[in-house]
């Protein structure tokens, strides 16, 4: 932790090497946040790149190094919202197009692990599609909170800071997000036993 704070402090002072290390440490997280939010590789890449360019430009103004994580997610959230606005004005991509075997499927880009069981990979891909579909059906506000909490592991306080809302609002959105996901999974008859994967 001390190392991370030191890295952030150095990056804040304009140390390019420290900024590079920070980007490498956080790139996957921000990319995955964007990917789960959009279920779109290009948009997630766009958001991640914009986020780290903004980080490079503005990290000098970061007052408290302990708030780096929520600060970084604030930037990512803002770019996600910006991309979403652009996307809404453009033609949307059907989830159906993302299914394995279709031309735009993400599975083509990801199934490059030689030696993996193809059937298992296919099942995993189908499951990802289903779960991602459930996430996409949540409202934008609930999706932000669920991804940050469930996949990014932020505390409610950090999520509240990142979204500039109260902790109680975050928890309330999480409550309704979980209830909505529960109903969706029940409708699709998806249970832990049914999917049979190891946690």
């Amino acid at each position: 932790m001390m190392h991370a704070e030191n890295l952030i402090a150095r990056a804040r002072e304009g140390d390019s090497l420290a900024q590079g290390k920070l980007m490498h440490a956080w790139y996957k997280r921000i990319y995955n946040y964007g990917f789960k939010f959009f279920y779109d590789h290009d948009m997630a890449m766009e958001v991640a790149q914009k986020t780290f360019i903004a980080m490079h430009r503005n990290i000098g103004g970061l007052q408290d190094t302990s708030r780096f994580r929520s600060w970084l997610y604030t930037i990512a959230v803002n770019f996600c919202r910006e991309e979403l606005r652009k996307k809404k004005s453009a033609a949307s991509v059907s989830l159906e197009d993302q299914r394995p075997g279709t031309r735009n499927s993400m599975a083509w880009q990801e199934s490059n692990h030689r030696g993996d069981n193809p059937e298992r990979l296919l099942r995993q891909s189908e499951l990802s599609d289903l779960l991602q579909g459930c996430l996409k059906q949540l409202s934008e506000e609930q999706r932000e909170v669920v991804i940050m909490k469930e996949y990014e592991g932020l505390k409610f306080r950090e999520i509240a800071e990142a979204l500039s809302i109260s902790e109680n609002t975050v928890k309330s959105r999480m409550y309704y997000g979980l209830e909505a996901l529960k109903r969706m999974l029940e409708r699709k008859n998806i249970t832990k036993e049914a999917i049979g994967y190891e946690l």
Partner: protein
């Protein structure tokens, strides 16, 4: 137990972000409420399923950043200092061009443009008093002169105005008087004419009226006399009739009395004969 945790508290408990007294209360609440316990278990199931959505592997692109160090002349503090120094230099040059000089001597600050000049003779208290007195006298004299001059002008102006106004008033009065005489004459003449006409009309009307009145009066009087004579005649006739009726009645009564007397005398005579 009336405690019921709200949505936020339940979520915080579920994600292990509750501690202390609140945590104990929620645990006790869940022990007593199996439905809420079931909900918490369902959330756990949902989260287990959602955890199947794994992270994507991605390689971070290289971070290419420009040189972040700015030259010293682009630093804010340097530019501000330079600005202050430049302003000061401008002031100095301007002062030099204007010949501005400042000096302090004998507790006295002297600021001047061009070469400083020596002070004139210093005045003492008596000199200042004399200057003030002279200035006052001069001022008084000047004011008196101005006052006199203004008074004379005012007097002349008043006289002139009076003279002008008097002649104007006289002429106006004359005009008014002449106008009034003419008007009075016209008015009297008109009145005389109107009176003459009125008198004539009145007399004419009066003669005709009197004539009509007398005729009426005479006819009324003759009608009255006739009526009165008629009434008297009727009264007289009525009295005559009454008198006649009374006379007749008297005659009748007298006859009846005489008849009854004669009858009674006849009866008494018969009785007497019988008694005899």
């Amino acid at each position: 137990m009336n405690y019921k945790p709200d949505e936020a508290t339940l979520v915080a408990y579920h994600f292990g972000e509750l501690e202390g007294e609140e945590l104990k209360k929620v645990e006790a609440y869940l022990q007593e409420h199996p439905a809420e316990r079931k909900r918490s278990e369902e959330w756990r199931q949902v989260r287990s399923v959602m955890a199947g959505l794994a992270d994507k592997e991605v390689i971070a692109p290289p971070l290419i950043v420009g040189n972040n160090e700015r030259p010293i002349w682009r630093e804010h503090y340097f530019r501000m200092t330079l600005g202050i120094a430049a302003s000061f230099l401008v002031l100095l040059v301007a002062a030099r061009l204007l010949g501005l000089s400042a000096s302090i001597s004998n507790q006295e600050l002297r600021i001047s443009f061009g070469a400083p000049t020596a002070l004139e003779q210093v005045l003492d208290k008596a000199g200042v008093t004399q200057m003030i007195q002279a200035s006052l006298e001069e001022n008084n004299a000047s004011m008196q002169t101005a006052w006199d001059s203004r008074n004379q002008k005012l007097e002349a102006s008043i006289q002139k105005n009076l003279a002008g106004n008097s002649s104007r008033i006289n002429s106006l009065v004359k005009e008014a008087s002449a106008g009034q005489q003419e008007q009075v004459r016209q008015f009297v003449g008109q009145m005389q004419t109107e009176n003459l006409k009125l008198m004539r009309d009145y007399l004419q009307l009066s003669t005709t009226g009197q004539k009509e009145y007398l005729e009426g009066l005479l006819s009324d009087f003759s009608r009255y006399v006739q009526d009165q004579r008629k009434q008297d005649m009727q009264y007289f006739q009525a009295n005559l009739v009454n008198m006649k009726e009374n006379t007749d009645q008297f005659k009748k009564d007298t006859e009846e009395i005489l008849t009854s007397l004669m009858a009674s005398n006849r009866g008494s005579r018969t009785d007497n004969q019988k008694s005899y």
